[in-house]
Symmetry: C2
Subunit: 174 residues, 2 copies
Amino acid sequence: MTTILPKWLDTHYNVTLPTDAARMRYVITLSQLNVMNRTGGPFGAAIFNADGELIGHGVNLVVPQNCSIWHAEMTAIYIAQRNLKHYSLDNCTLYTSCEPCVMCYGGIHWSGLAAVVYGATKTHAEAIGFDEGHKPSDWAAALGSIGCAVSGPLLADEANEVLQLYNQLNFVVY
Amino acid sequence: MTTILPKWLDTHYNVTLPTDAARMRYVITLSQLNVMNRTGGPFGAAIFNADGELIGHGVNLVVPQNCSIWHAEMTAIYIAQRNLKHYSLDNCTLYTSCEPCVMCYGGIHWSGLAAVVYGATKTHAEAIGFDEGHKPSDWAAALGSIGCAVSGPLLADEANEVLQLYNQLNFVVY
């Protein structure tokens, strides 16, 4: 099966998680595993349907896939739409370990997602050298106006711990 | 070879085009072929290096690929980076038959592209029911500030003819 996901993530885990916090911990764990497996940047994302079933997940794969599109959120949208065989993720919610950048914000706009929940903030990402691009300051309200409710930060300290881990490993590894 | 491109486009054409106008006509032709082949929306894009050599190209594939990410610009970035085996398109220029939406604007931000040239405008796209999303009004200046020069509209009337064709066919076909 051809896929962009690293081997440790390239399966459809049969997971149902009932709460926002449990789903956020899942994507924070993905972000941590991506760092520890050296398969990309410190970001994870996953999409759950209204029953709390996992529809698709992703991590940052820009360097290993040689493709600037594969931020965690875009990867998760791609995988979820492939699993559903449909280009619209109605009634689904995206959980992402960090506030989306301008590309992922735009990707969410077209994805049909009903909601987005993020962990760490733009400020956390910028503190270790990532940037978000020039995103409209009212991006969350703009998504709200098309029926996609944005909430966060949620478990930001836990999400930020992975950003800090990545930052420390960078200093050691590179 | 696995790819997202439709069969009529799934090859690396050995093309060198010397001028902005010739490259714009190439992507307008892709947009027209995409409509006539019924393989997606009325948008085409291509990436050329500093010598005018075609590095990658794409069309809108949202419906046939069941994926909201595959706007023409994102498809072209994906294919070009795959061809170059690198996530940054330094010294390359993206030609797109229509002004990019907010997702593609963000995708361009991370792509490493040196320049973007667009054909038809947001106004043309909106006139047939497409929308661009909530893009910052100073998007072109923001790209300029990171070293990606934006210019357009170029050959907007020719690009708009394809949008009009799509609009007319829609009324007949659907």
